[in-house]
Subunit: 210 residues, 2 copies
């Protein structure tokens, strides 16, 4: 479990005086690297942006960049949603139909993601479409979300978390969400993401038979 503490963005380091100077600096460095990366990527594209450039603009050494993020892709694909989704899932009444819960939680997650920084959300999905490495890494990270979903589904339906059925359900859902994001980005973010999500959930709810 990657409980790396430090819920990322919505709070600035100054808001948490209870943390030591060391911790606050770490958060600041993390944000500096991310900010530098987003800026450079917007200026010159993902591939043309090197770690060295990122390090330079963030005013750290290249070594430090790798200490904070295992890969270059990871710098752009923040996944802070997992714990939020999980909490929201658990907060719903246990007897609520699963699809209702899912729909509700997804709406919440979208709202959260948008509020944070819409432009960043767009850049991220844009990169998912354009840069295969980013898309791949995103899928990888979503499979972690998948494990989490398995747990949630198992809790709700009383089935075994490790059963094929549960795992397939989770992965089908992940794939569908992924494709929804891609669709949104490919169409220039013109649709309301929430509406697309609803249509996606409709498809999953009724099965692929028709």
């Amino acid at each position: 479990m990657n409980t790396m503490t430090a819920a990322p963005s919505p709070f600035s380091p100054a808001d948490r005086p209870q943390l030591g100077l060391r911790e606050r600096k770490k958060i600041k460095t993390r944000e500096a690297i991310r900010t530098a990366t987003y800026a450079l990527v917007k200026e010159q594209g993902y591939d043309a942006t090197t770690i060295e450039q990122i390090a330079e603009r963030a005013e750290v050494s290249p070594s430090t960049v790798f200490r904070y993020f295992p890969t270059k892709e990871d710098i752009v694909i923040t996944d802070e949603f997992d714990p939020i989704i999980m909490d929201e899932l658990r907060a719903r009444p246990a007897d609520e139909p699963w699809m209702v819960t899912l729909r509700y939680v997804m709406h919440k997650a979208i709202a959260y993601g948008m509020k944070e920084d819409e432009e960043v959300s767009r850049l991220r999905t844009h990169l998912m479409v354009q840069v295969p490495a980013v898309r791949s890494r995103m899928m990888e990270s979503m499979s972690v979300t998948g494990d989490m979903l398995c747990q949630a589904i198992a809790e709700r339906t009383g089935r075994d978390q490790e059963s094929l059925e549960v795992r397939v359900s989770a992965m089908a859902l992940i794939g569908a969400l992924m494709e929804t994001s891609l669709y949104w980005a490919e169409h220039g973010h013109r649709d309301e993401f929430k509406d697309l999500m609803d249509r996606t959930l409709d498809v999953l709810e009724h099965g692929l038979s028709e």
Copy 2:
């Protein structure tokens, strides 16, 4: 040249005299690289196997390896199924229920994949579980399959190939198949893959609502 033994592909170069020497050599080189890779990976693992070693054993230069395969991962994740699946899909009567068609075609694809070389199939899925890069690349390549599936679904259901609904259906299916493969490998290939596939299709058919 140590190939010629256990040719992975159902056709050996010698069987196709209609091709020029040039074409036959290319096929042979391709197979040599694959064979060398599989052997080395089995001996010392994926990460420990370098392109240089592969080139050496296949008796070609490293440059040539990259000419035949864009990435190291691609050497192990053959995807020759797409055209077969597509052909089989088109060969089914147009009024057959979609899920029946899908089930039939998947069975065919599995039978084909197994007959080819069971051990290679196992090694491949094993690598998918163990090596993230391979798993990622596999997903990437499956999204190509996804495009193809969109076309098939659109043809069958009369919907727009580019519609969100069709794309979500395809991607959910892909995700589910992926997870089924992983499940199979993680459980030591003990189950019959065909049975797992049936259970997966059951889940998709009835929707994730329950």
